[in-house]
Amino acid sequence: MSSTASPPDLSPAPQSDPSPASARAGAGSRRRSLHLVIGLVLVGIIAGGVLISYFWLPFAPDDTSGGRLVPPGGDHLLGTDKLGRDLLTQLLIGGRIALATALGAVAVGGVLGVSFGLLAGFATRWLDDAAAVVLDILIAFPTLLLAMLLVAGAGASLTTAILAIGLAMAAIVARLTRVLVKQVLGRDYITAARIAGVSWPRVVASHVLPNIAPVVLVNLALQAGLAVLAEASLSYLGLGTPPPNASWGRMLYEAQATVLTAPAAALAPGLALVALVIGMNLTADGLRDLADPRRAAR
């Protein structure tokens, strides 16, 4: 039996009888699990489309034979853009970039943020104050400026965008982790474990990480949605994925001039963005309950 977090048993407490209070809580958790289902469906549809895109695309990404700004329907389900490229193809390729950004930025932000937050959570005295100030400064530093600096140094690419978004996310995650770690370290069960002779690494693995995980994971799911939006903004400004790769933000930029004559070219990436971000937010909301037995039973 491992001492790390296992998925908690979510069945209601055996001794709890159906009282008005628990009935109300039941309605609340049903609504939350609805959030989770809708969220996962939205994210799942987009992830499924992206998976399919690796095996099959309606047209080659650089195929412009269909003619410019063809309206939706016919051969081109969503029409074509101003260069004559198939919009659905572009949308699917943009989905790859959106998901890669979400996963990459969460990986960078999660690993760096939780590691630094843990260290800062254990810091005392002046080191603690210093960590708090550094994190506040990092959070105040605009993501856009950080991205511009990185682009100036390393050139515009998906990796640069992910790195910039991930680093900005790391500061937010680290601040959250630091506060959570401090809260958990103040609990008696940590002292009890220490008196029982448990070493610090084990206390962190078996008590600290599992107890901060629900909040951190929910926050990371929210941050994933924000990362997708951030990448779209960077690409819109030309600081993200360079052409010819079709990021949704870039598609929006390119459709801007023709938005009144060919709205599909702007609507498609716009709606895809909204769907993915709402999906990730709803998933985060639903996860909040699943991750915490205290809330699940309430």
Partner: protein, 266 residues
């Protein structure tokens, strides 16, 4: 040699104020000592200093020897190795003393697995025994429950089971009944009393409640503003309190008793 010797223990905060001031006492193996004092008198800090686990920012000087090991100056590794087998603690608020994300069974299993190297069926049996000993029937359900699914009394019993599972030689009880209902308090005190008696575990009992201390401790030390102001067998301290603070403690306990009896007569 005593199991626990504290000599000239002083705990200071960052500003240099002494929160515990030149405290000395000893607990022999199987003995029962009490630290009595109001909140802020330094009794809980003394208990933490005894295990070498002060909150960050506080520093201890003086001498604390737990089973012969210097808990102030010995290397952290050495102190960790001493604490586990020798000492265990029960806290005031059982809800925060148990990890909210672990079932009661797993929490009790933790020290058994680590210190007694139990696994599988042997571990399950030991956990059940530990729950039986604290008079928790329905052991399977309790073992699979999370702390929030248990009542306050049940939680404190689980905390006691966890503390005593590995047969520590010193049990530190920091106001273990203060957060409980009066009826549950009495049950928990009886339980502690019996378990400590049958196993010969030494007890360091911390409380602000003189009658509670009278019930479970033998020697007692009254603390005020970080200092021990009076020490001695609990019966003597109650019968002939010498320090004004102890006198107040005894008088208020008597007044409380008297009020209870007057009400009963009326």
């Amino acid at each position: 040699m005593s199991l626990l010797t504290v000599a000239g223990l002083t705990v200071r905060d960052q500003a240099g104020r002494a929160l515990v001031d030149d405290v000395s006492f000893a607990v022999a193996a199987g003995d029962r000592a009490g630290l009595i004092g109001e909140s802020g008198s330094g009794k809980s800090l003394t208990a933490l200093a005894v295990t070498g686990l002060l909150p960050p920012g506080l520093t201890a000087t003086g001498e604390v020897r737990l089973d012969g090991v210097d808990m102030i100056r010995a290397p952290e590794k050495h102190r960790t190795a001493t604490r586990g087998p020798v000492a265990a603690i029960v806290f005031q608020e059982p809800l925060t003393a148990l990890d909210p994300l672990m079932t009661a069974g797993r929490q009790i299993a933790g020290p058994l697995r680590r210190l007694h190297r139990l696994r599988g069926a042997g571990l399950r049996a030991a956990v059940n025994d530990a729950l039986d000993e604290v008079r928790l029937t329905d052991t399977d359900r309790i073992a699979n429950s999370y702390p929030h699914q248990l009542s306050g009394g049940q939680r404190q019993r689980v905390a006691i089971a966890m503390a005593l599972a590995c047969r520590p030689r010193l049990l530190i009880a920091d106001e273990p009944t203060t957060a409980l209902d009066v009826t549950v308090q009495a049950e928990i005190l009886d339980l502690l009393d019996r378990l400590v008696e049958t196993r010969g575990t030494a007890l360091l009992f911390i409380t602000h409640d003189l009658p509670v201390a009278a019930r479970v401790t033998r020697d007692t030390h009254v603390m005020r503003n970080g200092q021990i102001v009076e020490s001695g067998p609990i019966a003597d301290v109650i019968a002939h309190p010498s320090h004004p603070y102890t006198k107040t403690l005894v008088e208020s306990a008597r007044r409380f008793d008297a009020a209870l009896e007057r009400t009963a007569r009326d």
